[in-house]
Amino acid sequence: MSPEKTSAKQPAGIISLQGVHKSFKGRKVLDNINMDIMPGESHIVIGLSGAGKSVLFKCILGLLRPDRGAILINGEEWFTLPIEEKLQRMSCVGVLFQGAALFDSLPVWENVAFVLRRQGMNKPEARERAAEVLEWVGLPDICDKMPAELSGGMKKRVGMARAICHRPDIIFYDEPLAGLDPVMSDVITTLMKRLHERMNVTSLTIAHSMKLVREFSDRVSMLYEGRIYQQMARHDIDSSHDPVFKQFIEGRADGPIQFTFSGSDHGKEAT
């Protein structure tokens, strides 16, 4: 599907990617990505490390400009907008970054209420709202702590509180469970599910964890060699017979995706 043809079509999804291409130094990272994410849907993008998930994530957020194609959010292509309007529209989006990306120089409550303060809310009110959201993610009484004083799991939850404090319509999660212990992973997954159900938000998640896919997704896309290799509803995951997809969800080193490592019994040199 060419981007020229598709850009004239009214997008069906709240997020719509049409023929998105992105290369770095001649290497194709995203190759003709077409994807529609419906309002209220929880969509998870899975794929091997280096498959282009983070590049896709950054392109959708407007942090990287695609070489070709269109990315529409709420039916609008943000790349064509002036910076001020793009930033204004960003308020409908909340993002949880892989490392939480909290601002080191601000206390927790100012991190959480960052957008509210930018929108002109006064300090006491913003602080109160931040405290409420922090309590919701299970972190009461940490308003005045600095990010450096928090553990990885706490940072993730503060990051989540910051992502939802301004009540966005769409939430992006970049590897939300990366680097967490199993218990904290379950806490974050539970919070994501609660958030999705109660706030009726649309979610786009980049993940490796099949547990998260099974518990949190409505639909799954697998990114492989820069393309959307498979896209399916969550309940179809286990019935897929595609060997590449099966290898990924089963987490096996042997299979059609081959790796080379010294003394390997599994793979031969990738061709």
């Binding site: 950054k58 001020e84 930033l87 308020s91 993002v95 970054f97 892989q98 601002f103």
Partner: protein, 256 residues
């Protein structure tokens, strides 16, 4: 062939590096036309650039003034022109040594801090996070730093000039037995306003160079912790070299 490729790569890297500074300067100029300007952040950065640099700057200035007086005495004593020490100290401090030495000190202290801070924010995705939190990182991070460096440098130089001249006075009067009244008179009699203004103007230009170069290095930093280290080094080196080059160009232009 390999040689040509190596030259091509080097030219490409240089063009990329040199392109960063005008690119960021353009972004800053475009954004300065419209609010928001984040005044509290500008004041915070002014405190960081101005107040926190004072000890380093004043210490440099006082010893420079003292050494200048001593060295000038050695030379002028040979032909009995010791009374001119005051003029040499004040002219040198105001026109050259004040702005250049303060510029180099601030490039080392503040430039490194700007590049490291923004570089760390870049590699830990905090700059990306600012975008997603409806905040323009150039307005929020870069403009306050560039403005603070631009505004604080002339003030630091003004103080450095005064302290440097005072250092020269102390050495000349108390160590070299000069007449205090003659020293003070000679300090001011041969000065013109352009000597002061040119130094302050240079300081403002140097401040802008430090702010832009250091912020560009940090803002466009890539490559994890190693990248932040390299960006910090480049920020200091490029700022210092640019100050020396700009000093020659400005001197040639102002006093032509």
């Amino acid at each position: 062939m390999y040689f040509l490729e190596a030259i091509g790569d080097a030219v490409q890297r240089l063009a990329y590096a040199l392109g960063l500074y005008p690119l960021l300067a353009g972004k800053v100029i475009v954004r300065l036309r419209k609010p928001p300007w984040f005044f509290p952040l500008i004041i915070e950065q002014c405190e960081m650039v101005g107040v926190q640099s004072l000890p380093v700057v004043l210490l440099t200035a006082v010893f420079t003034g003292m050494v200048l007086a001593l060295q000038s005495w050695v030379a002028f004593h040979r032909f009995g022109a010791e009374s001119m020490i005051a003029t040499i100290v004040s002219l040198s401090m105001l026109r050259e040594l004040g702005p250049v030495l303060v510029g180099l000190m601030v490039a080392g202290r503040v430039g490194a801090s700007f590049a490291a801070e923004l570089g760390a924010m870049r590699v830990s995705e905090q700059i990306d996070a600012l975008w997603t939190l409806s905040t323009d990182p150039v307005r929020y991070l870069v403009i306050p730093r560039v403005l603070a460096a631009m505004l604080m440098m002339p003030l630091l130089v003004l103080l450095a000039d005064a302290i440097g001249m005072a250092g020269g006075y102390v050495i000349s009067v108390y160590a070299l037995d000069q007449n205090p009244h003659t020293y003070i008179t000679n300090s001011y009699d041969y000065l013109e306003l352009i000597d002061l203004y040119s130094g302050l103007f240079k300081a403002m230009v140097f401040g802008t160079i430090i702010g832009l170069v250091s912020c560009a290095e940090g803002y466009y930093c890539a490559g994890g912790a190693g990248g932040v280290g390299k960006a910090t080094t480049r920020a200091v080196v490029v700022s210092a070299m640019s100050i020396l080059i700009a000093d020659y160009i400005l001197t040639a232009w102002i006093f032509k």
